[in-house]
Amino acid sequence: MCPSYVMNQGDITKLIESARDSFDIFGPVKKRTKHVFDKIDDPAQIEMDYDSTILSPRKFFQPPSEVMMTFDLEEKSVDDTLENLRAERPRLLLAVHSCDLNGILLLDKVFGGEYVDHYYNIRRDKTTIVGLNCLEPCEYGFCRSMNTHHVVEGYDLFLTPIDGDRYFVQVGTAKGEHLIHMAENLFTLAETGDVQSFKNALKHKQEALPHEVDLEGINEYLDLSFSHPVWDEIAEDCVNCGACAMVCPTCYCYDVVDELDISLTSADRTRKWDACLFQDFALVAGGHNFRETPAARLKYRFYHKMRGFANEYGIIGCTGCGRCTAACPSDISIKEVLKRLSTIWEVPVSGVK
């Protein structure tokens, strides 16, 4: 096993300085009252002690919009953009919480598999990720309920705050080891006392993070609630804006559009984030819409997360990051929906359609 290290929390800015010749560096920075993952030009911008970010780190691997290929309409030729991606500078992504690391692991499954999506995977390979352990609950998250409050992989380095002023540093990959070598003087090998501090931190975390939603029986209550009027009530306030999907670390749906250049001699094929909440998402030729009502679309998103993902990829597609709840203009809380569905046992069967 690769040894663990400790570093001073204040030295994160020095790590940024040491790495900036090799990487474009991104991390949490303040944007008005919230935080976002953004490019760090001045190391002092980074705010390691952040609650959550508006958008998840998904944007680094699946950008909101990307040109996949260009068509030369005169020569009748197709050029994809993979070479440009390969030529981009490597990225260092700092302070990614456990929930988001788990989200990235899920995206890895979607964009890997039988048909490999190279756009995603090239970016993924070129990114070094430094994870950050959360020892205190955040405002909207419920990671512990979704079992995403810890990670076993998905990071190159993983930092756990210890003793108030240091990080316990776990090395996950050779990329992580490489980063340590770039700034060797900042890291010292962890000693017995440091491991004890790490253990104390994890114990504190166990006590601090609440366990709010019981996933025991989720399959049963999803079965029982599919045709239940409870969905009409939940969807009553939904405006189908898709904000929940845009901020989600695991909502990967996309749309593909061709855009002609004004010269009419070339065109780009671009993919853009899409959301199953949008009215035309399940529309087919001839005008038939398989999910016509707002309630059907809200319910679908929920079932895809909680059941579709689990069936396809073996894990539930919600990381409990709480961003959808934070972003929803109608205050629909995924946690409260889950709680409500879990009480379906108490609703008499006569209420079922």
Binding site: V110, F226, R269, V284, H304
Partner: protein, 280 residues
């Protein structure tokens, strides 16, 4: 055998040329394409029931069921209704024009499981487009299958597609072909009534695999008839329509419940469909 043209970037289409177009009705035309690269003409193999993604460069890409049969090689036929921007552009293509094609994708019909079985095809409207691939496959390899019956229904005589081919199927001694229109016109001499009325005209063996494709409204009534005959839910196969953007299980546009139409389908048994809410 299943051969997929292997490329590094699965989203990049191969160039194909329009070699013929045959108008089938007011809104549907059959387009025949061949790959520009000779190599691909031999390499490209598929199963009836699979689909391709067709690119109109600068306008867009859309999924289409392959309507030709892999028993007749070297070209791909797609039966396409003029309904949106991509299909409009396809209809405006001239012979020799270049498009992009990638695939084939999806599961297709389970050919091995169909061998030796009695087959009943039930097609409604342009549902005949994907079924035609399997019908012609069966016609070309007739000895591998049991009884073959085809029920085809359209709303009116003007919507009948593949007219020449329907006549050729009708002329075969070992294929029983029946058709009907919901509403006839002054020249129509054939059956009148929805496609389910054809079930009154034939005694179908319960030991039959039914292959059904048509508008969503048709399925329920056809499936009821098939269940009445005693055909098992797992032996009623349907091909579902969704607007796939990627075709390879990434974009999630064709997700139904816990299945992806592009990867797990588009061919599903009615047993699977009934477990997937919102499938039809």
């Amino acid at each position: 055998m299943q051969l997929q043209v292997k490329k590094e970037n699965v989203y990049v289409p191969d160039l194909a040329r329009l070699v013929s177009k045959r108008k089938m009705s007011g809104t549907e035309t059959l387009f025949e394409f061949e790959f520009v690269e000779d190599r691909l003409r031999d390499l490209f193999d598929y199963r009836p029931g699979q689909f391709v993604q067709l690119s109109m460069f600068g306008i867009g890409e859309a999924p289409f069921s392959i309507s030709s049969t892999p028993t007749r090689k070297g070209f791909i036929e797609l039966g396409i209704r003029r309904t949106g921007s991509v299909t409009n552009a396809i209809h405006n293509l001239k012979l020799g024009d270049i498009v992009g094609i990638r695939g084939p994708y999806g599961n297709g019909f389970p050919l091995e499981a169909l061998k030796g079985r009695n087959l009943l095809f039930v097609a409604g409207g342009i549902g005949l487009v994907p079924l035609r691939s399997l019908i012609n496959y069966v016609v070309d390899r007739r000895s591998q299958f049991g009884d073959v019956t085809i029920f085809y229904g359209t709303r009116n005589p003007s919507e009948i597609i593949f007219k020449d081919e329907l006549a050729s199927w009708d002329a075969l001694d070992d294929v029983d072909f029946l058709m009907t229109v919901d509403k006839g016109d002054k020249d129509w001499k054939g059956n009148v009534g929805v496609v389910t009325t054809l079930f009154n005209k034939r005694e179908i063996d319960p030991n039959t695999v039914a292959l059904v494709c048509g508008p969503p409204v048709m399925y329920k009534f056809v499936v009821d008839e098939l269940l009445k005959i005693g055909i098992g839910r797992d032996e009623i196969l349907v091909s579902l329509e969704r607007r796939m953007k990627c075709g390879v299980g990434k974009c999630a546009h064709c997700q139904i419940g816990h299945k992806l139409t592009c990867m797990d389908g588009p061919v599903f048994s009615i047993f699977e469909v009934e477990q997937l809410q919102e499938a039809i």
